[in-house]
């Protein structure tokens, strides 16, 4: 017993005993500011939410322990499931379309003979660096049913006006378009970094074997950047399920809660002061997002 504890204590001392005091203390000083902020604004609130999620606290007075009530309430609440369903539909509207768009653009950009590559790359990133709230406001004006430029364009080709923001069937696609517009350039850059890691000799070998252009894409490019693609999907899944500013500014969650996303639903608990339920909702969302991410990672592994 004494020997093991002595050994255990001896090991770290043995490693650093010969070092000057300054060198031994330095790392603690260097990480201290981070650790202090992290404990205060990361770990503490995290543990606090966990406790809060089992109470019916509304922000003042004594909190009452309610056990699993908040979780059970949410799991039985149609509004909660509606928010998840809205996010899931947005995911379906966004991810497949965006992936095809971004992959096509990235493959075209990954060609040294393409003229104006730098220009295209810059242009594609512009949406990603514009402030989301500003562009969301512009979206409201562009997609206005009576005065918006989008319906004006549709009118030019003889199509009828669409109630982009005022009908529950079009509100989700309008938000999906905003999200696709804002983030596709970012996905293009990620995919492009994956494509550039592919050795060009692989393509040359395929050309010698007589593979056509499309064949190269499906049997070389896509399998080789599957990891990068899956990584992009995980990132976008996290982002779609946290989507908040878009519905907050553009549709306020309407019409008829059709754009109340998981992120906006969570925020609404705060405005209602229903903090215990909000905390429980946070954890349910974490579990869901973690499960989805792990699911994608496993999907990736299974194919390896």
């Amino acid at each position: 017993m004494t020997t093991t504890s002595q050994l255990r204590r001896a090991r770290p001392r043995g490693r650093s005993a010969g070092l000057p005091l300054q060198r031994r203390l330095a790392p603690y000083v260097f990480v201290a500011p981070f650790v202090i902020l992290f404990l205060a604004f990361g770990i503490y609130p995290m543990l606090f939410t966990l406790r809060l999620s089992f109470t019916n606290w509304h922000g003042a007075g004594a909190a009452q322990w309610v056990g699993w009530d908040n979780y059970l309430y949410l799991l039985g609440s149609p509004a909660f499931w509606n928010s998840l369903a809205n996010s899931a539909v947005l995911w379906l509207l966004i991810i497949p379309f965006q992936l095809v768009l971004a992959l096509t653009a990235a493959i075209l950009l990954d060609n040294a003979k393409l003229r104006m590559r730098g220009f295209y790359r810059t242009a594609f990133i512009v949406p990603f660096v514009t402030p989301l709230v500003a562009i969301a406001q512009i979206w409201v004006v562009l997609f206005d049913q009576n005065y918006g430029a989008i319906n004006a364009v549709l009118g030019l080709v003889g199509l009828p006006d669409i109630g982009w923001l005022t009908t529950s069937e079009w509100a989700k696609p309008t938000l999906a378009l905003l999200f696709i517009w804002k983030t596709t350039g970012f996905i293009i850059i990620i995919l492009l970094s994956g494509l550039q890691a592919i050795d060009s000799s692989v393509y040359e070998a395929a050309s010698l074997d007589g593979a056509g252009r499309l064949r190269k894409v499906t049997s070389i490019t896509i399998p080789l950047i599957r990891r990068t693609m899956m990584f992009a999907v995980v990132l976008q899944t996290l982002a779609v399920f946290q989507m908040f500013a878009e519905p907050y500014v553009v549709t306020q969650g309407g019409p008829y809660s059709s754009t109340t996303t998981a992120g906006l639903f969570l925020y609404n608990h705060i405005t209602r002061g229903d903090l215990g339920t909000g905390a429980a909702n946070s954890f349910l969302l974490v579990i869901l997002v973690m499960a989805l991410s792990l699911g994608f990672v496993r999907l990736l592994r299974a194919k390896d």
Binding site: P12, R15, S16, A26, P27, Y28, F30, F34, V35, F38, A40, F41, G42, Y44, P45, M46, F48, L52, G59, A105, I107, L108, D110, N111, A112, K113, Y120, T122, V126, P127, F128, V129, P131, V133, I135, Q137, I138, W139, V141, L142, W181, G185, F186, I189, I190, S193, Q196, Y203, E204, F231, L235, Q242, F244, A245, Y248, Y267, I270, L275, S282, V286
Partner: protein, 289 residues
Amino acid sequence: MTVSSQAGERTRPRIGSHVFLVVLTLAFLAPVAWAILSAFKPANDIIRHPLEFDPTTFTLDNFVGMFADVPIGHGFLNTAIVLVLKGSITLFFAPLAAYAFAKYEFRFKNLIFGTVLLTLMLPTIVLIIPLLLEMKELGWVNTYQALILPGAIDAFAIFWMRQVIAAVPDELLDAGRVDGCGEFGLYWRIVVPIIRPGLAGLAVLTVMNIYNDFVWPVVVASSEQMATLQVVLSTLASTISGNKIGADYATVTGELLAASSVALVPLLIIFIVLQKHFINGILAGSVKG
């Protein structure tokens, strides 16, 4: 991490490729270009003829009206204060902690770094409610501290900088020690100059994230006095119609587009000037998302 150089395909691009890329470029640039140009049109024309642009009728009326109705200058000021203070904290302390993780052995190192990795996976929105309550307990709601301190030393920045610093050869540090350099001096005089490109990437990413941040500011500091630029922008329509009795849809729209244009121009300029660092920053930033 560089995006230029090496390309996979060597065939000359066909006409279809160009058409696709041009259409995509137009789709990506049109909303921004439309908003900025429309902001110069007479308000009534914006809604009556949304697709027509006649430079002879261009006017600054929307901007003049907007600056009178929207506290956008105040929003810029608050964002600038947060940007300078929070940005400095991030850029000074995150690489310093990363340096300790990359080049030293110390107690709890793996435990702390493991926690850093774990928080990278957590959705940020989860912390909003408990952090807000903590701010209420501290009496920090609607204060600069609340906007600046949480998240100031970002776990992602540490994770990224640790990778960058790990590439600095240990021999250089040992040589510095032989020359009598102190531990902080090693960081400041040897490590920082070497990792400057990485720091530049971190800087642009940090500026972009702080400038565009919305969820946390709108939750913790939505008062008129403390509203950052993005929070000011989020309530444009009600602010404009509230400050201008009887304002019609055209006037509100004109001022709204003027405000949005003013808000997106600074970042666009920084982006165009520092493009390379931006793309590197975004690529590295994608690890967090």
